[in-house]
Amino acid sequence: MSETRVDELGFDVDELPGGAAAALEAVLMVADEPVPAVRLASVLAMPTERVEELLLALAAQYRGDGGERPRGFELRHAGAGWRLYSAPAHADVVGRFVVDGQTARLTQAALETLAVVAYRQPVSRGQVSAVRGVNVDGVMRTLSTRGLVAEVGQDQATGAVLYGTTGYFLERMGLTSLDELPALAPHLPALSELADLDEGLR
């Protein structure tokens, strides 16, 4: 993959502002999961060895190894790859921020979204948004942080991440399996109103 030619890509990482190191930072900044070096190499169209060198250099730089101010973030090799995290030295401040303003209750929007995921899983964020008629990105993140939904796969056609409910969700609902979810039918409007909408609800 490192052989991908520059003219096919439309960019050469070494010519971008800040060079290849900055291009790596850009990708890492938006990565939610640890990213394997080989994947980063593919995205940047660079040899994996060089990417690994850069990653180690960035990690050292953020720690302040070269005499620069230590950063509040760190680049860590965790699990299968590399990801940016808050620096552990600042865990107290970050913890205050995370807890600040949080409530113990899920909002109505979060509960509704959870219900849609439960009955439509596996389902993408886009599909949930379409059903609810509002953007659900933030709410889905909350549900995911709370361990109630999780990524369960990827849509073959669109590449979109698919979500489903978790074991913790079943536990909180007092169910042992998804088969025990109550049928929707009794909660729906009268059948006569739905005769021609049946399709849409399958």
């Binding site: 939610d32 995370v98 509960l111 609810r132 609902m173 007092g174 929707l184 409007p189």
Partner: protein, 276 residues
């Protein structure tokens, strides 16, 4: 203040204002385009010419053909153009009776609406620019590390399975139609113009002359009437039907002039496959 429609043209000209028909996004949009192109001399814009242009545009639009929502929007344009045209025919000077005044006011109102629409259209270009710039930065939005998520207060959980089912049912149920005039039916059910053309052909072959009124008497829904109307236009272009109308606004009779049997081969691919 009575502002003749010509004013728009003058402004348009001096600002190099021009609407290209390659982006069709609404009747006002199209109307502005047509008016700018024809230097706003509405009286000299033959509706037939505009119709031809519109059909040519739709035909050239893409291989996917055109759908009924576009076609019905065109009817709105055509009606608005007729209004404008009627208003324009009035002398701009002396206004004598109340009816004239009403027409003039209608014309000014329409003109004002067009100017207002144009302002928003120009602003939309600014938003498009901002949107494009924003699309080049991706925001950081990552999930919390487990040790941070563990700091969150325990969830108070009151929802049972039935409550969840009720929430799901409500979210998944179709939304009630919005209050006010609902035009979604113009876009919703796929009514094939080609199918309606076949229905009309079958009928006209058996009764070579029928009135438009008779042809749509059993249509039921307005959308079918529109489809049949469009089908007739296409059949006319194809040389399969001819129209007779003795007096303006009088009964329109349709004569079959095509082959007496065989499939109807319409030259456009219409709404097939992508009618939605």
């Amino acid at each position: 203040m009575a502002t003749p429609p010509d004013a728009a043209d003058q402004r348009a000209g001096s600002h190099g204002f021009e609407v290209h028909l390659d982006v069709f996004s609404g009747p006002f949009d199209l109307l502005l385009g047509l008016i700018a192109k024809h230097r706003l001399d509405i009286t000299e814009v033959a509706l037939a010419q505009v119709t031809d242009e519109f059909l040519a545009y739709l035909r050239a639009a893409d291989g996917g053909g055109w759908d009924l929502s576009q076609a019905s929007e065109f009817l709105v344009v055509a009606a608005t153009l007729l209004d404008l045209k009627a208003a324009r025919l009035l002398p701009t000077g002396d206004v004598e009776d109340a009816e004239d005044l009403e027409l003039l006011e209608a014309r000014d109102l329409l003109f004002a609406r067009l100017l207002q629409y144009r302002a928003y259209k120009e602003i939309a270009a600014d938003l498009a620019e901002r949107w494009a710039v924003g699309a080049r930065s991706y925001p950081r939005a990552v999930s919390l590390e487990p040790h941070l998520a563990a700091l969150l207060p325990d969830l108070v959980w009151t929802l049972g399975p039935d409550g969840l089912a009720a929430l799901a049912a409500r979210a998944l149920a179709p939304r009630p139609a919005p209050p006010g005039v609902d035009l979604s039916h113009l876009h919703a059910p796929p009514v094939s113009v080609r199918e309606q053309a076949a229905v009309l052909a079958d009928r006209l072959r058996r009764h070579p002359s029928m009135s438009f009124r008779d042809l749509v008497a059993d249509a039921g829904e307005p959308i079918v009437v529109v489809a049949r109307f469009l089908a007739l236009l296409e059949l006319f272009r194809d040389g399969s039907v001819a129209f007779d109308q003795v007096v303006a606004l009088g009964e329109l009779s349709v004569r079959w002039t095509g082959t007496s049997d065989g499939e109807i081969e319409l030259t456009t691919d219409y709404d097939e496959g992508n009618a939605s």
